[in-house]
Amino acid sequence: MHDLILFAQSRGGYWLPPPDSSTAGDVDRVFYFILGVASFFFVLIVALMCLFVILYRRRPGVEAPGSASHNNLLEITWTIIPVILVVIMFYMGFTTYLDIRTSPRQAYDIRVVGQKWSWVFSYPNGHVAPELHVPVDRPVRLTMTSEDVIHSLFIPAFRVKMDLVPGRYTTTWFHPLRAGTYDLYCTEYCGTGHSDMLSKVVVHKPGEFETWLEQAANLLASMTPVEAGAELTRRNGCLTCHSTDGTAKVGPSFKGIYGQRHTFTNGTSAEVDDNYIRQSILEPMALIRQGYQPAMPTYKGRLKDQEITAIIEYIESLK
C-alpha cells in the first residue's frame, strides 16, 4: 500500500497517532479495550445475522420451524453481560479522565488566548509566541481563555482537548515524553478561518527550552527593528488575517500599505502613517477600512510601545 500516495500512512497504528504524552498511553489502552469489545460484539451480531439468513432462508412451501417468542433467562443474560462490560469501560474512561484533567502541582504554567483565528501563548517571563514551546519530560499546564468566540485546543499526539471559553478560564495539562514538533488544532468551529487556526507544539530537548525562551524574549535586543517587527507580526497572529504579499485576506495586506490613503466605513479617509497604524493596533474598531469586516481584536496591553514601533517599521519596509 505504501507505494500508493493516496493511502500512505504516517506514524502510529491504524487508528491512533503515536502516544507522546504521559497520559496518551492510558487513553489508548481504553480505546483499544473498547475497540476489542466492540469488534467482538459486532462480528458476533453480523455473523449470527448472516448465518440465520442462510440457514433459515425462505423456501417455497416450507413453513418456518419457529421458536419461543420470549425467554427471560436469555434476555436477562444479554442484558447483564453488556452491563458488566460498560461498567468496566466507564471505570477505565473515568479514572484516565481524572488523570487528564488533574494537573500536577509543580507544572510549568503557560497562558493561552484564542482569537479569530490564531493562538497566543504567553510564558512566565512575559514572552508571547504563536507556537507552543515546552520542555520535554515536564508537566505543562495551560490556562486558557478566548478573546471572542469559543475555540478548542487539541493536540492529537497528547490526546488532550479543552475548550477556550470567553469570560472564563479553563485549564488542561500534559507531560510530553519525547522532543519533537507536534500538531495543534482548533476543534471548536469559530468561523471563516477555523481550519487555519493551527499551530505547532515544539517540545525542546532537556536544557534547550530555557535557552530558547531567553533568546526569544530578547527579540528587540538581538534583531533590527524591521526583523523584530516581522517576527512580532508572526507571533501575535497578525499574519493570519494580513498577508505580506499583497493578497487581501480577512484584513488588508501589509504590502505597500504605508503611505496609502484609506477610505473608512464612516466616510472619512486618512493616510496610513505611524499614528494610524498605532491606532489600528490599539483600537482596531475605531476606523474600519471600506470593504473589510470589523473583525480584529485589540492588542492594547499585549504589545509594548517598542514592539509597536518595530511593527510600524516592518510595515513601512514592505514596499
Binding site: 480505546f31 445475522m49 421458536s67 453488556p82 466507564f90 469570560g167
Partner: protein
C-alpha cells in the same frame, strides 16, 4: 427466495372508494383532515428537503475530495455544512419517520379512524411548511454559518441570518410538539376494544416514546432559540460573556433538547425494524415486552445524558463523570433490541425482500454507530475524539445508517399500503445494495480520519495540518462513497415514482403482516375501517397464509400449534 413473494400477482383494480379517490382537487388535499393525506403531504415535503440537504452534502464532499480549494471558498463551505446539518436535522430526520410514516400508519395500526386532533395535525403540517419557508429565506437572503448547533457567542456575533434560522427552527419545534401531543392523545384515547397496551405493535410503542420526547424536550429548544433571537435583536446578554452571560449555559440548554432529539430520530426507526424483521422472518417478535419497555427506557434515560456533548467544554469534572455513567446506561436498551431482533430471525423463514434488506442494513450500520458510541461515552477517549471526524462518522452511522435505513425500510414496507402499487423488487434490491456500499464507503474512512486527529468542520486538510498523508486517501474514498450513495438514493426515488404509473396493484396484505393496517384494503378507505377490525396479537404472523388466488396473505383459522422451545445451546 420465493417467487411467490417477489412477484405478487396483480390484484383486481380497487372497486371501492379509497382515501386517494375519496375527494378530488387541490383543496381536498390542502385542507384535508385525513391523517393519511397529511402523512402523504409530509412524505413529499420531507423527501424534497432530504434531497436539498443531500445536495449540500454532495457539495461538502466535493469540496473535500482533495486538499485546498476545489469548488468553493471558506465562507461558502461554512454555510453549506451549516445548512446541510440544519436542513437534515430540523426538516428531515426529526419529522421524517413520525410525521410522515407515523401519521399515515399510526391510526390504522391502532385500529382508529384518525388521530385524536385532526385539525391540530393539519396545523402542524403547515407549521412545518412555514418553518421550511424560513429556511429557504435563510438560504436566499445571505445564508447561515453557525453550524446547526447555533453555539453562542458565535451565533450572536456572526453577520449571517441567525434570527431567521432560529425563528424557523422555533416554528418547526412547535410542529414537532403538536405531532407528539397528537400521537400521545391518540394512543391513549383511541385504542379500540381489545387493543390493550401490550397488544400495541412495537412501532406504536416507539412512536409513543418518541412523542414523549417531542413533547418534553422541544419546548426547551424553543425557549433557547427564542433567547438567541432576542439576544441578537436586543442584546439580551444571557449568553454573552461581555454582559455577564454564560455561553456554556446555551450548550446545556441546547443539548437538553438536542440529545433527546437523537432518540426522536432513532426510536421510530427501531420500531419499523421490529415490524419488518418479524414479518419477513415469519416469526413472532422475540421479547416483545423487553423491546417495548426498552423504547420507553431509552426515551427517559435520553433526558439525562445531554452533558456528554460537553466533556471538553469546561463543565465540572463531577458533571462529566455523572453524564458519562448515565450515557453508558442508554446503551443497554439498544443492545437488548439488537439481540432480540437476531433471536426473532432465529429459526424463522427469512425472505430477503427490499424492506428486510434495509432492516439488515440497519442492524449492521446501527451496530457500528452504536458501538462507536462507547468510545464517546468513555471520558478519556471522548476527550481525544470529540469534535473530530470520528464524531461525524459515529452520528452519521446512527442517523443515516440507522434512521435513513429504517426510513427506507418503512417506505418500502408500507409503499403498497400508501400508494396501492408494488415497486420493482429487482430495482429495490439493487438500490438497497448500493445504499449499503455507498454509505460504508462514505463514512467508514471517517472513523480513522477522526481518531488520527482530523477535526470536523475543516475546510482544508493540506500540509498545514502536519504530516498526514492518510487524510488525502480517506477523504477521497469518502467523497467517492458519497457519490455512490447519492446515485443510489436517486435510483430509489426513480423506481418508487415509476411504480405509481406501472407498478402492479397491491393486495391488502402483500407481506403477511399481522398488524391492523394490513387488514384494510390497499390503499385504505377514507375511514380506514368500515367495520371494527379484529384486534389480536400484532405478531401472530402465522395466522396469515399466502393464498395464490388472492396473490397475498389472508387470515387462516388460528392454529393452536405449540411453539418450539428455544434451544439455548444454539447461542
Amino acid at each position: 427466495m420465493s417467487d411467490l413473494l417477489t412477484e405478487p400477482r396483480p390484484a383486481a383494480a380497487p372497486s371501492m372508494d379509497n382515501y386517494l379517490t375519496h375527494a378530488r382537487g387541490f383543496w381536498s388535499w390542502a385542507l384535508t383532515l385525513d391523517h393519511k393525506r397529511i402523512g402523504v403531504m409530509y412524505l413529499v415535503s420531507i423527501v424534497a428537503s432530504f434531497f436539498l440537504g443531500g445536495l449540500f452534502a454532495e457539495l461538502i464532499r466535493t469540496e473535500l475530495i482533495g486538499p485546498g480549494r476545489t469548488i468553493m471558498g471558506k465562507d461558502m463551505y461554512n454555510q453549506v455544512f451549516t445548512l446541510h446539518g440544519a436542513v437534515m436535522v430540523f426538516l428531515f430526520i426529526i419529522p421524517g419517520i413520525p410525521a410522515a410514516l407515523g401519521n399515515f400508519v399510526l391510526p390504522i395500526m391502532l385500529g382508529a379512524k384518525d388521530v385524536a386532533f385532526p385539525r391540530l395535525n393539519l396545523a402542524s403540517y403547515y407549521l412545518w411548511i412555514v418553518g421550511a419557508v424560513f429556511f429557504v429565506f435563510v438560504l436566499v437572503l445571505g445564508g447561515l454559518d453557525t453550524g446547526w448547533t447555533f453555539y453562542t457567542p458565535y451565533s450572536t456575533t456572526t453577520d449571517t441570518r441567525v434570527v431567521l434560522a432560529v425563528t424557523g427552527a422555533f416554528i418547526l419545534g412547535f410542529s414537532s410538539i403538536f405531532t407528539g401531543l397528537n400521537f400521545i392523545a391518540t394512543i391513549h384515547m383511541l385504542r379500540p376494544p381489545g387493543m390493550t397496551w401490550f397488544r400495541l405493535p412495537l412501532f406504536l410503542w416507539a412512536l409513543y416514546a418518541t412523542a414523549l420526547i417531542q413533547v418534553l424536550a422541544t419546548p426547551v429548544l424553543g425557549i433557547t432559540l427564542f433567547l438567541v433571537g432576542v439576544e441578537r435583536l436586543l442584546g439580551l446578554g444571557i449568553f454573552d460573556p461581555k454582559l455577564g452571560g454564560d455561553p456554556v449555559l446555551f450548550q446545556h440548554f441546547f443539548w437538553f433538547y438536542s440529545h433527546p432529539a437523537v432518540y426522536i430520530m432513532i426510536l421510530p426507526g427501531m420500531g419499523i425494524i421490529s415490524e419488518v424483521i418479524s414479518v419477513f422472518s415469519r416469526k413472532h417478535i422475540f421479547g416483545y415486552k423487553f423491546i417495548a419497555i426498552s423504547s420507553i427506557a431509552i426515551a427517559l434515560l435520553g433526558f439525562l445524558v445531554w452533558g456528554h456533548h460537553m466533556f471538553t467544554s469546561g463543565q465540572s469534572k463531577l458533571a462529566s463523570v455523572i453524564f458519562s455513567a448515565l450515557t453508558f446506561s442508554v446503551s443497554i436498551p439498544s443492545a437488548i433490541k439488537v439481540f432480540n431482533w437476531l433471536a426473532t430471525m432465529y429459526k424463522g423463514s427469512i425472505a430477503l425482500l427490499t424492506p428486510m434488506l434495509y432492516a439488515l442494513t440497519f442492524i449492521f450500520l446501527f451496530g457500528i454507530g452504536g458501538l462507536t458510541g462507547l468510545f464517546l461515552g468513555a471520558l478519556a477517549t471522548d476527550v481525544h475524539l470529540h469534535d473530530t471526524y470520528f464524531i461525524v462518522a459515529h452520528f452519521h452511522y446512527v442517523m443515516v445508517g440507522g434512521t435513513l435505513s429504517a426510513f427506507l425500510a418503512g417506505i418500502h414496507y408500507w409503499w403498497p399500503k400508501i400508494t396501492g402499487r408494488m415497486y420493482s423488487e429487482f430495482w429495490g434490491r439493487i438500490g438497497a445494495l448500493m445504499v449499503f456500499v455507498g454509505f460504508n464507503l462514505t463514512f467508514f474512512p471517517q472513523f480513522a480520519l477522526g481518531s488520527r486527529g482530523m477535526p470536523r468542520r475543516y475546510y482544508d486538510y493540506g500540509e498545514m495540518l502536519g504530516e498526514h498523508p492518510e487524510f488525502y486517501g480517506y477523504h477521497f474514498l469518502s467523497t467517492l462513497g458519497s457519490y455512490l450513495l447519492g446515485i443510489a438514493l436517486f435510483l430509489v426515488m426513480i423506481y418508487l415514482i415509476a411504480s405509481l404509473f406501472n407498478g402492479h396493484r397491491a393486495v391488502a396484505n402483500p407481506w403477511g403482516g399481522a398488524t391492523l393496517e394490513w387488514q384494510c384494503s390497499s390503499p385504505p378507505p377514507h375511514d380506514n375501517f368500515p367495520v371494527q377490525p379484529h384486534v389480536g396479537d400484532p405478531y401472530a404472523v402465522r395466522n396469515f397464509q399466502y393464498d395464490p388466488d388472492v396473490g397475498g396473505y389472508v387470515r387462516v383459522a388460528q392454529t393452536a400449534k405449540p411453539e418450539h422451545p428455544l434451544h439455548p445451546s444454539a447461542h
